[in-house]
Amino acid sequence: MIYTKLTKPHIYSLLFILLFVLNSCIYEQKSNDKLYLKLEKEIMCPVCQGQTLDQSQSLIAEDMKKIIKLKISEGYNEKEIKNYFIERYGESIIAYPPIRGFNIIAYLVPIFILITAFITFVVFVRGGKSKN
């Protein structure tokens, strides 16, 4: 079998890919900015249909972004900032269902789907397997 042979083109192309990946991924932003970017993606714009803050151009979204920045600089943490917005706009201001109460189902069903998928797979293969 020739598959075991390692050749120069292999090595070159690996180095080539790694060069790109490394060049682009070694920078990380400062932690304060990181929290801001995270919140911006996890809080919805209340007037735009189905857009998070980072996607929205509306004035209210811009204002909310300013509030988030201000709160971060005042030392509020992620949870406090989120609660601040939940108090004003309700639960739907957060871009994902809260992980408690009825809404846990939102996360349980995907797990259930995965388990069912796995069982279906095994049953399918076993049932399809010839007896001999």
């Binding site: 249909q49 995965l114 397997k129």
Partner: protein
């Protein structure tokens, strides 16, 4: 012109209903004359749809604002080239467009099927005409694109500014076509059911048409992402918006189908499973059209929405029952496969795993799309299900599918020995491990990107090694490596086209990982002739130009970009970011300035113009974004290779 178009629609409805009835009657009575008449009226239906589309276009070109649809979506100053976009900019026109694609594809499919197999197509053609009848019905009674007003307005409202982008020439029509095209493999699968001779040609038809609709839908999704990236001005390209999701779901299921239909072709297995898959894909596509036409979920795409939700929901339920019934009635015959699974280590099992994972992913996405409705029904509270949810649930599943792309190709049909697998995966696996170690050394510790990049490298080298060895084998009688590579690709188009598409998916995955985990952004307020430094870039704000075109205020900001190296600066070029305000629509549209290279995109989004000298901008660096857009052409090339008809001589 308005009445004319409307009457043509009514004739179309009559013809398509006639065609449904005669196809069914002709099949029952085996009367060739009746079938001939049915076929003729099927063609005539197509002609009617064509004529009514043309008359809507003529309405647009003549600026006939007595037509409400034209009034709402066009204006005198509109570039005539945008007529094509205006045609499907609203609810009525997009429905007509979907119907047009539906009938063109149906006729093309009918021509494509060989004469012998056409006799099995009577029921499927009845289905096709029933689908057309539904659209005619909606167009005539609920969404008439030819509705007229008595008073003649001087000028129309004009086209939505967000649609004035080259991406709009292709994204919506491709997406709508993709969704509409899925009905072709769906009805073909019914044709294959009615053919009791187990004729292999059906599998060829099914594969071809599934590939076509899959490619069109995929290209539509990708171009939509590109449009969002260049014009929506948030630096992203995929927002997990309901409309995007309902396009993605059938695409995922179709991806499963185009794999498992190969298993049916090669091994005579998975027949029932394939019919179920294509039915699910079709139902999901209908769901897509339903949610597009005013379904119960909020979306950023709602500019073309309507109150037709109820009609489409009934249609969706009726078609689901129809698909289910067809499967149940023929269940016994469909479940008998020619072959059995012999080993876990076989290509068919890896395809099965791919299928199940893809369907599971699309169900998870579906769950996310409908959950807000469920939450309101059960608890009365409104909640949002957006990007963070989908990234957490569907993201890992999609990564697993990527990893499977590396395992599938090393397995042979029926059975594979451990030894062969080990030999084939050794180099890619070692490479993937090495790269993970190198990334760790460079302090990249995020679990998800690490695993993803490792998988991408693994899959890439699996394909490369396969091609490398194939080329080498062919070089024995031909010394030119390029020629040998091409002959190798051409010798098995289905498989190698598939590999090319896999490379496109890897490129896409690389771009997603880069932009998702390593993007950097700052918001700054900046004056003209000032500079701002961002990482190793220096951005010099050169000037603002204001202009007014047709009452629309357009502001252009020009930036000079420098890269700071040790002690000198390298001038990279100018970036222009445009901000336009359309008073007629009270809408803002921005065009970001993007400087792109394979390593990263520098991306400038104009936000506010405080005065003629100062503005706020968001500057973003999107690593590896270039790879997302490169995947598009690779994807198309791969699909074309896979679809290219095999020469019977070349087939060994």
């Amino acid at each position: 012109m308005n009445n004319f178009g409307f009457y043509i629609l009514i004739i179309g409805l009559t013809l398509s209903i006639y065609s449904v009835l005669t196809f069914i009657y002709g099949e029952k009575s085996k009367d060739n004359k009746v079938i001939k008449s049915a076929t003729r009226s099927f063609y005539l239906t197509g002609l009617m749809i064509f004529i009514s589309s043309i008359s809507l276009i003529i309405n647009f070109l003549r600026n006939d604002f007595s037509n409400i649809y034209v009034f709402n979506h066009s204006s005198i100053d509109m570039n005539p080239f945008l007529t094509f976009v205006a045609f499907y900019a609203g609810n009525e026109g997009s429905l007509l467009f979907i119907l047009l694609v539906h009938i063109i594809a149906s006729i093309a499919m009918f021509k494509f099927v060989s004469k012998k197999n056409k006799t099995k197509l009577n029921y499927p053609l009845a289905t096709i005409n029933a689908m057309s009848s539904f659209y005619f019905f909606v167009l005539i009674f609920f969404a008439n694109p030819f509705e007229a007003i008595n008073t003649l307005p001087i000028d129309g409202k004009g086209i939505n500014p967000l649609l004035r982008h080259p991406g709009m020439y292709i994204h919506p029509p491709l997406l709508m076509s993709g969704l509409s095209l899925i009905s072709i493999p769906f009805v073909l699968s019914h044709g294959s059911i009615y053919d009791t001779t187990n004729n292999p040609e059906w599998k060829k038809y099914l594969r071809t048409w599934a590939l076509i609709s899959w490619a069109v839908l995929g290209a539509g999704l990708l171009i939509g992402a590109w449009w969002a990236y260049t014009i929506l001005g948030w630096g992203g390209y995929w927002g997990w918006d309901p409309i995007e999701n309902v396009g993605l779901m059938p695409w995922l299921v179709l991806t499963a189908f185009i794999h498992s239909i190969i298993v049916e072709e090669r091994r005579g297995m998975f027949r029932l499973w394939n019919i179920i898959l294509i039915s699910i894909a079709y139902i999901l596509a209908l769901l897509g059209i339903f949610i597009n036409r005013g379904g119960p979920v909020v979306s950023v795409h709602s500019f073309a929405a309507s109150t037709l939700g109820f009609l489409f929901l009934s249609y969706l339920i009726a078609m689901s029952l129809f698909a289910l019934m067809t499967i149940m009635i023929n269940y016994r015959r469909l479940k008998n496969d020619q072959n059995k699974i012999n080993s876990y280590l076989s290509r068919e099992v890896s395809f099965l795993l791919n299928n199940i994972l893809l369907v599971a992913t699309s169900l998870v996405v579906l769950w996310g799309v409908i959950f807000p409705v469920i939450s309101i029904l059960f608890t009365g509270t409104e909640i949002s299900v957006s990007a963070p949810y989908f990234n957490k649930t569907a993201g890992p599943l999609l990564l697993t599918v990527v990893l499977l792309m590396g395992i599938g190709p090393v397995l042979s049909w029926n059975k594979t020995s451990y030894k062969v697998i080990l030999k084939k995966i050794s180099i890619p696996l070692i490479f993937s491990m090495i790269s993970i170690v190198i990334l760790l050394l460079y302090n990249i510790k995020n679990f998800f990107p690490l695993i993803s990049i490792g998988s991408i490298i693994f899959v890439f080298f699996i394909v490369v090694t396969e091609w490398f060895n194939g080329t080498k084998l062919r070089m024995k009688n031909n010394s030119n490596p390029f020629k040998a590579f091409i002959t190798m690709i051409v010798s098995n188009r289905g498989r190698n086209g598939g590999y090319i598409v896999h490379i496109a998916i890897l490129s896409l995955a690389l771009g997603i990982i880069g932009t998702k985990f390593y993007d950097q952004r700052i918001d700054v307020s900046i004056n003209t002739s000032e500079s701002v430094s961002f990482r190793d870039y220096r951005i010099h704000f050169k000037e603002i130009q204001n202009s007014s075109i047709n009452n629309n205020e357009i502001t252009k900001a020009t930036f000079e970009i420098y890269k700071e190296e040790k002690d000198k600066q390298k001038y990279l070029g100018d970036l222009i970011a445009t901000h336009s305000y359309y008073p007629k629509h009270n809408q803002i549209s921005v065009r970001s300035g993007i400087m792109s290279n394979p390593i990263e995109d520098l991306y400038i989004i104009p936000k506010d113009f405080i005065n003629s000298k100062n503005m706020t901008v968001r500057i973003a660096i999107n690593p590896l974004a270039w790879w997302i857009w490169v995947s598009g052409p690779i994807f198309i090339i791969g699909t074309v290779v896979a679809l290219w008809p095999e020469n019977s001589k070349e087939k060994n």
